[in-house]
Amino acid sequence: MKRKCQDYKSRLPDNTAMKQQQLPAFRLQLSANEILSGFFAIGLFCLGMGIILLLSAKSIREVEINYTEKCATCAKLREDATNFDKECNCSISFYLPQKMEGNVYLYYKLYGFYQNLYRYILSRSNIQLVGTDVKDVRNCAPFKTSDNGLPIAPCGAIANSMFNDTIVLLYNFNSSTHIRVPMVRTETAWWTDKYVKFQNPTFQNLSSAFAGTAKPPNWPKPVYELDEKDPGNNGFVNDDFIVWMRTAAFPNFKKLYRRLHRIGNFTEGLPAGSYSFIINYNFPVGRFQGQKAVVLSTLTWSGGSSLFLALAYLVTGAVTLLASFSMMAVHLKLKERKTFFLQ
């Protein structure tokens, strides 16, 4: 009998809220007033945010100079791959009507360059780049080894296609005095990239660290000669190289090239006046009908000069406000009708 009782008990489902589907629940039931005031608040907030963003984006000074056409002779020269060892310089002058205050950044910008192709992105070796094994070129097809069978360092399509124009900004103080604007070539990459993701192989001498490897076919010089003046910016940890290796998501992109070194005349930023870019033209864009540009820009808290976010906020805010007005109208009208019916 006792056993039967136990059995009886054990088959009775537990009376818990979970098993009986009686868990306490929060039901989101807002009143019309709450919803309407919420709508108004959100609408106003978005509108305000949009205006702030718009103003801050407008405050940015930006100069973009497309030099694909302007350096036509150089471009022509680069069309022919056999001229790879010939230097070609090109000068572009421009006038800055207003001074650019604060930090000024120099970018290069590419149009129509697909850094986001699936196989292109895969073609790199992180193991090699972190310095653990310089000869690891497993994932680098089709740029694994050079013609004589040596592993390429840095291997892969990304590295091979590195942007290699050099851009120098001159400040034309007057018609005869051209001051080279001081630029910092480091700290353009992410800290983690520079100190974690990219590491030179540990050797006394950098060139011996890369012994037994070949330079990428498109490169004029090996990786350990990227910046011979600054050992902290040479080899895999070269900032230009690291910036290039972080592939862009879209075919039109700009990458940070230099930062203004704020000394002397340039403590405040770039003063207004006449400037010129001296470009050592190496990177061929004519082959893929691409374009190249240099960009000088300041930054604000919200980022660059793009108006997209500001406009998006403005539109959302406006639509929300509009919606809240119409909702209120509908609601009030129906309320009247309801009270009418009740009477």
Binding site: Q21, F26, M49, L53, Y120, N126, W190, F288, M327
Partner: protein, 1110 residues
Amino acid sequence: MFCSRKKSLEVERIVKANDREYNEKFLYKDNRIHTSKYSILTFLPINLFEQFQRVANAYFLFLLILQLIPEISSLTWFTTIVPLVLVVTMTAVKDATDDYFRHKSDNQVNNRQSEVLIDSKLQNEKWMNVKVGDIIKLENNQFVAADLLLLSSSEPHGLCYIETAELDGETNLKVRHALSVTSELGADISRLAKFDGIVVCEAPNNKLDKFTGVLSWNGSKHSLNNEKIILRGCVLRNTSWCFGMVIFAGPDTKLMQNSGKTKFKRTSIDRLMNTLVLWIFGFLICLGTILAIGNSIWENQVGDQFRTFLFSNEREKNSVFSGFLTFWSYIIILNTVVPISLYVSVEVIRLGHSYFINWDRKMYYSRKATPAEARTTTLNEELGQIEYVFSDKTGTLTQNIMTFKKCSINGRIYGEVCDDWGQKTDMTKKKETMGFSVSPQADRTFQFFDHHLMESIELGDPKVHEFLRLLALCHTVMSEENSAGELIYQVQSPDEGALVTAAKNLGFIFKSRTPETITIEELGTLVTYQLLAFLDFNNFRKRMSVIVRNPEGQIKLYSKGADTILFERLHPSNEDLLTLTSDHLSEFAGEGLRTLAIAYRDLDDKYFREWHKMLEDANTTTDERDERIAGLYEEIERDLMLLGATAVEDKLQDGVIETVTSLSLANIKIWVLTGDKQETAINIGYACNMLTDDMNDVFIIAGNTATEVREELRKAKENLFGRNRSFSNGHVVFEKKQSLELDSVVEETVTGDYALIINGHSLAYALESDVKNDLLELACMCKTVVCCRVTPLQKAQVVELVKKYRNAVTLAIGDGANDVSMIKSAHIGVGISGQEGLQAVLASDYSFAQFRYLQRLLLVHGRWSYVRMCKFLCYFFYKNFAFTLVHFWFGFFCGFSAQTVYDQWFITLFNIVYTSLPVLAMGIFDQIALDTSYWTVINHVFIWGSIATYFSILFTMHSNDIFGIFPNQFPFVGNARHSLTQKCIWLVILLTTVASVMPVVAFRFLKVDLFPTLSDQIRQWQKAQKKARPLRTRKPQTRRSSSRRSGYAFAHQEGYGELITSGKNMRAKNPPPMSGLEKTLYNSTSWIENLCKKTTDTVSSFSQDKTVKL
């Protein structure tokens, strides 16, 4: 292969008794049954083969193969294989467990013991080793192992009693009798061992009430019919032993032939999901094609130049071929719109819902300690879509307990006590304190207590005594005393059992009977009545009478029968009593009780003698014998004195009426399919309010030929349409019947309540193809449909019919083996558990102990499951579309190169880890169909937990350490840190949230204002209703003005009277000498013949060999 070919060839079966070698030639199946699907060796290949036949699994396998091709692979293989292996393993484990239990139950059945005659000895043998042609011995209360030809039994003349509840749901006993030539064999083992008869009979089939064959033995031939066959699944009753020869074994038995094949059940959501998946797949192909074309163009115009620039030595690559590869790459990437985790999640949600059913205390039956059980976990949401419920009667709607409820004696009602379960214990106590001790044999379970009746009995009210005496005398019950000295009644109909038991409990105890006498104990004194005549019941007479002489020498006729019949035959002096009793009967009938009128007549000695002489004359004549006898019966059964009426309750299960009412409110149609008699079925229909007197019409289809049935159906239809569309001529309607697709407009026009009652033979004709649609059309327009006398297979056919032509979701509920095929063929099968038989439960998808739980199962669990599943699917498809279509968009910016925006880990984990739990929680816990969701603690934990998980995994994957260990797998170092510190990222997230939420909120706000949802309206309506008037409840006590339904012999068969008066079924104290056997046999021929004939007339219309050759 071989077997099936052989089976198709088997047109007749030849079996020789006691000759295994001979029978082996025919390769008949032995008695082993196996319902299991796999063995240990075949499990893996067959199961995997079956699993990969499922479109989804095959699709994912295909994807996996695609991913292994390096040219195409755009995602690594682990994004697919991990979930695929998970799913396949889970299903395999589930299948294996299911099959294990099938093996177990098979083994249990196959290893049952039975006594088989082998090598002239009775040996214990397992069921599975029983072969066709074996002679086996059965003992009382044993299950029959195979379909047997009855050879001999312990009872005189080779009679034996069986209960066929497992086969057709009827619990009354049925008689089978052996051929006289074989019944002579008795229990003589040596003679039985020498028995070498050859049976030639029909091939295995599923007709339960038909058997034709010939036994050739000793040079003569004997025809065999169903009366000589005991089927597997029956239980031997009231027969201490019998011998039978196995004709059909194992899968060939009629029981197994009747259990339809197990079909894989799918829900409509499943089908919807499959269609959706197909559509989405088509959509995917479209996207893939667009992107592939894009890629071809891009390669042609831009990529060509890039190749020389970015990839050396690939100039030979063709842009069209590249497009082709891109197509497959994008198929892989975009497959996340239908990720395999969808199927896993659906299964998990269903499992959760099944557990809720198992855990539901409101579906727990405490008296039998049976919780509800979801035996199939994949059908829950279908429960919310049920349109038709097919219910068995016995054991499902009713408890299969007949209780003597009330009686009206001489114009006074006794037994007006409530039958509330709650008060039962009180009543029992009262009884004990009352010290009512008229009957020492009183049954403890008897539930009729009425002070006044006890008093009247003790005071010796002659009418009351006469009433009870009649109950004790006028019946066909056989009594038996068991070893403990308790009286056991062998009843042929449970109604009669209830009446005799009632009399017994009230002090008039039926003790024993011989062909000429009946002995009863009247309030302690033994009285023996001489049984002078037995005027048996038949369907036409609807009454039975006995004529007895009491010890004082008075001759009395006691009669009980249908009130309408009996009231016509009353003595005119009864008029006052008649009106009073009539009122009482109406009252009883209004409560759904089965009523009988009770009357007696004092007979003059001389008159009786004359009458008896005429009866004997009539008996000996050959021409018009039946008519003359009927006339004589009419003659003596008149001028009756009314005693009163009885009311027996075919006890409904608790809450049946409420359940039926609420299910019909939910627009669910309930059809009753029962093996029981028409009267019983109708009565139950009335009792549970499925049939009511205010119905416009009740069509009864009971034709015996195809044309009759067709005509009846046509009339019913004419009636139905005629009434509703007085302007329409019949032709319009009949043209419509050509198309099986029913016109819903026609249906709409039918107003008013109709009911259809159809019996088994008519159904057999009606299910033929050309009348089928008529039947369906008619039936679907009726509020209630009752099918009576249907075989298990017909039940399944009816279900199939509705399923096929109405495209409706069906549910079958039943408790017995006779419901198995119906349970299997319906979309959802429900078994009533806690009863003796388990077959129904084993075949069912859901099981619980009481019919009333159906309401909660359908209207709560089913509804919720459905809503949850729908919401879940919307949510799931939404999130995956949002997730995946980004790749389509990005394709236009990355030269259609199949570059993903997200990293591979994010893609792998998105569906499995990041977003699975919140969707699941909603799918499992969401409760109301309203717009606001049900936010339980679990939902909160899951949502915030998922976000937390996302960030912790993100930061781990983007950490320096993991990059240090796996630089190639996790090259994300610093990404999270640098992006999340950007202010504009957060501004974008904020804006996205606002932009996604605002339109929905605005839409709902306006919708509630402008177009209130159904649930809003219902809520308002409910409020208004509550104010206006309390909800109308229909109680069983609802009075019905007319339509009294006399319940006599609802489960009664003709012929038992003769059986009694001939004394052939009495166990002789001294076995008659062998010499006298011939004579007795000869005499008995007539009644056996009659019995056969009449039973077959009532039971089946199939032509049968009615003669018994001796």
